[in-house]
Symmetry: C2
Subunit: 666 residues, 2 copies
């Protein structure tokens, strides 16, 4: 191997700076300030500390790098290009923010190799990184340090640290003592509105220390100082935050250190002036060969470590397990076990809250699938996510499988994203449905990234009773159903609850929300449970019997029972009525039109929807001419049975609506 | 006045404890542990520190008391009953958690006097309290310390402090040095899942101090220690957190200090044992006369202070201003000024992003309405919420009217709720529409409480372009439209943007979301702007001209322009087509059926909806048989015009859909 050229640190960093600034200029859109400010820190990280092999960006034991300040995406793209990561030719950078380029406005997971997670919505990256660092500890506890031994590095900006989710994540990381998590805070004192002093006076080091972190400080433009801090951070027994004092837009003579270089192109004049100030005479997208070579060498720095690792893995008695784990291959038998469970439920009448039925399904599944990692936002006993097979995960026992997330729904969801991204794990966790509101920004990222995370959302309507309107979701189902990529399931009974879990586990490309009742519901599916009927999203649970179908009653979850009773009233009056259970709008929408029309009885009379939630979204199913029995506003505090009467969600009301539509008042 | 009976502090506190535990027992539902644990602290607060006159619970200069740990609602109800607050007879407490009682499961604003805000969703109370304390400072800066001089006291639990929103609020309060804010942390070491040590290791005092708070500590069962800390806290020049070490369920022999008394009734045996342990032989809901008298005296403690205040107010030159301010009476003239502005816009063709049009409307409104308080979550220049009339509000200038909330959407919304609750202010603030996701739990409370808060939500579709899918809302409009009590307006042009602001300001009983484009939109309403057409939610912007209406194109916001162009294509082909602008689903739904049918052309051919968002929710307007041109999933990163083509949201596509429905392919 020939000697590498003599290239200064400044040149290496300037390569990032100008790739970033020139790409933003070309796109006439983007954020040059952050990459220019953090170029020195990133150069030290990628040339001396980060464990990676650019040619093999999916190496399981690589260090993870998360750009939490996702608007500085060009920093990441410049690094991926310079290190020679596959799929990042210079044209990708020229195509920054253009359709089809992997170099999207913000880093998008799946758009190109080396993007470990989607960032942009502030605070999500740091919280997701906590999940990655946690997964690393979990992997290490399971497979040993000779196979699993990597760090998670995060670049976070002031905005990330102002978002509340960051506190949830920081607090949990400190509690779990995730010592391989290192956050590089881009302490530039600037946000979009100007100096951070307009909105914050926080002592960030003290704040992190209050959560059990170690903290360090470095001049973000002094490579040796940065290196020293990083070296120290790698030895820590706790997560580490390094406050990197930087100048935003470093090198831009008139705009550096101000919000002016945060979110818009520098402009041709300023960009040229920056070239002169930094001694970078090269044209846009032109990196001189010596710099290019040294960056390529940095990209290959980890090749030997990776090869050694491959050798160790090959020799490991845990090799097969590790590969299965990371490929998400579950051990044989879980489906059969679940099918037997479902068949047993479906063979005899009974009553059970679906949250408990979900817990029963988890008791079957978690012993069978070691990848499943449970948890709850401090509602364990209510959401039934803890099983015998899942011991608590603690700082002393990363082999555990149940995470007490604390009252931190938002952080919980992001941490689940991080575990799923890291690889291998199938995280699920529970809270009340109404609090899906607190975690939705992270759930949105589960959807956007296509991560198989399962949300267990219980206490799903006024059926929760006395806790009242703050706890009673009326719009939350609509919010979930409106989220693209998410499959929302609201099972009607214990059988459908078991089916929902099978559907969730079969999904590899997106999240699932399982929405469950607090109150007991009778088993309505007494068909032996051979077929997973919920898989079609909706199906005829009971066909009209007294004559041809004139009424179709369509309901979900706890209201299927009400529809069932309404059907009896109608049939007793000689009106043929069918009940459709519709656990998932999304799965039903994906069925052939003929199937949907047949189920909904589109050519057979009138339709009534029943759900203890708002009508919003239901016209897709019942048509604007259909009737709906549900909520019209917020709930109230009272026992559940009183509330169902009070809000008129009863079998009598459903039957009456149907007769109204038929023009046959009782 | 005769001497008050000798009653021990313990008896006073036990009155709270047993009212709470007995009410929970009677309801067979609720949270006894927190009221029993915090009864001593609350007793000291309400008998010695809190400035209030129970007979006049709306006295403007009262101290505010916020029970952020809302599940401990019986603590508040017991205090309201004992102090003699109107509307809180013992029967109200007997009716705890029953329909119609003011004593709902969680404190519900508006259900009874003395409930300062709705709490229950954790973290909301403390963040709302920051808004109240801020409003106090603002009032004081405006009206002087002789009229405005009160504290805001908060009881917060571990759960409140784990939620991310608490960090946003704490940080902002510290930054603004809200010295009249005092948080009493119920440091009992217990959450639902058990010991807080399962999920957190945080040094809370250090955390608050990092944000610029003073902190103190007290034994929460030592009245003198509590009093000393409260006394000290009232002298602080910064917000204060007092860590009150308490035992949850204090007095319940076998359940105190454990999660078992957190969220369920104690049970008859344990309750009786608590009676014996605490020396409280009285029957359920029976408070001995001496205790009752002393509590009633506490409720009247502030009567003299209130009367003195009334005298000072009567003598104040600012009296009329103060009363107008608190009654929410705006100075004359704002409507005329806005009408003139609208008429000017509507009288000549032009093009302007609606976010800029909103800013222009604010330039007219903010000088006219001093109650309007602006702000943004660090996107001031993008959301156009800052006007010439609104100087920045800082710790040095509470007379300011523009709040730099920082990147803290959730805290921002809760702080706006707090300002609105405190009285007088009309807060509005901006962020990107997609980040409404971050603040929705607080917006939900704006709706539930009926608070006139205005959310300015810009960059409302793929029209924002290059920032890509993380920043492009596709489901957010559905989420807002699904929220009961909220009016969502998506104006089509500058005229409708001005109308939206008039609608928002006329709303006194609920929040408004104004959803705005990043990109320029042509002025389509060139009718002189006399009538506020948006007030009806939807209207015919352009009727079919070439013949009878056969097609109705229904669009919102930036897509109205596309519908307009599609109409031209159809009309050119001899197909009569109308364009309906539908800025608000909610306002339109409230119109008479005949009006809606006429606007939508329900008896005149086919309907096509156009919106750069998902179809979810649109079937209400276009019917399930209608066509829709919009998004079917997440967006992408590219210039806006490219994206509109890419996703097929074009006039050509709209016209083609209409012809398809008519069965007349071009």
């Amino acid at each position: 191997m020939r000697d590498l050229p003599q290239v200064s640190h400044a040149d290496m960093a300037n390569a990032i700076r100008f790739l970033a600034a020139d790409a933003v200029e070309r796109a006439a859109s983007g954020h040059p300030g952050m990459p220019m400010g953090m170029a020195d820190v990133a150069t030290v990280l990628f040339t001396r500390f980060l464990k990676y092999d650019a040619a093999h960006p999916r190496w399981a034991d690589r260090d993870r790098f998360v750009l939490s300040a996702g608007h500085g995406s060009m920093l990441l793209y410049a690094l991926l290009h310079l290190t020679g990561t596959p799929g990042w030719p210079i044209d990708a950078l020229r195509g920054f923010r253009q359709l089809g380029s992997p170099a999207a406005g913000h880093p998008e997971y799946g758009h190109g190799e080396g993007i470990e997670t989607t960032t942009g919505p502030l605070g999500q990256g740091i919280a997701t990184a906590v999940g990655m660092a946690l997964a690393e500890e979990m992997d290490r506890a399971r497979f040993g340090a000779d196979i699993v031994d990597h760090h998670t590095w995060v670049i976070a900006g002031d905005g990330c640290l102002m978002e509340g989710i960051s506190q949830e994540a920081i607090s949990l990381a400190g509690h779990l003592r995730l010592k391989k998590l290192i956050v590089l805070w881009d302490d530039n004192g600037i946000t979009i509105d100007g100096g951070t002093s307009a909105a914050t006076s926080e002592d960030q080091r003290k704040r992190f220390e209050a959560s059990g972190w170690a903290t360090l400080e470095a001049d973000g433009h002094d490579p040796e100082g940065i290196a020293e801090a990083m070296e120290q951070a790698r030895q820590s027994d706790r997560p580490v935050m390094i406050a990197c004092r930087t100048r935003i837009g470093y090198g831009a003579p008139s705009k550096a250190g101000t919000a002016k270089c945060h979110g818009s192109p520098l402009g041709a004049g300023e960009l040229q002036a920056a070239r002169e100030a930094l001694g970078w005479p090269h044209a846009a997208f032109d990196i001189p060969l010596p710099v290019r070579e040294l960056w390529a060498a940095a990209g290959g720095r980890g090749a030997e470590a990776r090869q050694d690792w491959e050798v160790r893995l090959a020799a490991s008695p845990r090799r097969a397990d590790f590969l299965d784990h990371h490929a998400g291959r579950y051990p044989e038998g879980w489906r059969q076990a679940l099918a037997a469970h479902r068949a047993a439920l479906s063979s005899k009448p009974g009553a059970m809250a679906t949250r408990k039925a979900s817990g029963a399904a988890l008791e079957v599944l978690t012993p069978a699938i070691p990848q499943m990692i449970g948890g709850s936002a401090d509602l364990t006993g209510s959401v039934n996510t803890l099983t015998k097979a899942t011991a608590p995960l603690t700082a002393e026992n990363f082999g555990g499988r149940y995470i007490h997330y604390g009252v931190r729904e938002h952080g919980m969801a992001a941490v689940m994203n991080g575990m799923a991204l890291h690889g291998g794990y199938r995280p699920y966790a529970g809270t009340f449905l109404v609090f899906a509101d607190y975690l939705h920004p992270a759930l949105r990222l589960s959807s956007l990234m296509g991560l198989p995370v399962t949300y267990v959302l219980t206490h799903d309507s006024i059926g929760l009773g006395e806790d009242g309107p703050t706890h009673q979701p009326v719009e939350t189902l609509a919010m979930l159903r409106a989220t693209p990529g998410l499959v929302t399931l609201r099972p009607a009974d214990a059988v459908e609850a078991a089916e929902a879990w099978e559907i969730a586990l079969d999904r590899r490309d997106g999240p699932t929300a399982i929405v469950l009742s607090r109150q007991d519901l009778p088993t309505l599916r007494l068909d032996g449970g051979v077929e997973n009927a919920a898989r079609r999203g909706g199906y005829v649970l009971a066909e009209a019997a007294c004559g041809p179908r004139r009424v179709t009653l369509i309901a979900t979850g706890s209201e299927v029972e009400i529809a069932y009773e309404a059907r009896a009233l109608l049939e007793a009056a000689g009106i043929g009525a069918a009940v459709v259970s519709l656990p998932s709008f999304e799965l039903f929408r994906a069925q052939p039109a003929a199937y949907r029309a047949a189920v909904l009885g589109q050519r057979d009379g009138v339709r009534v929807g029943v759900e203890a939630a708002l009508r919003f979204g239901w016209d897709e199913v019942i048509g604007s001419e259909g009737a709906f029995v549900g909520m019209t506003g917020f709930g109230a505090s009272a026992p559940a049975s009183v509330l169902y009467q009070h809000f008129g969600i009863t079998a009598v009301a459903v039957a009456a609506k149907a007769r109204d539509l038929l023009g046959e008042a009782a």
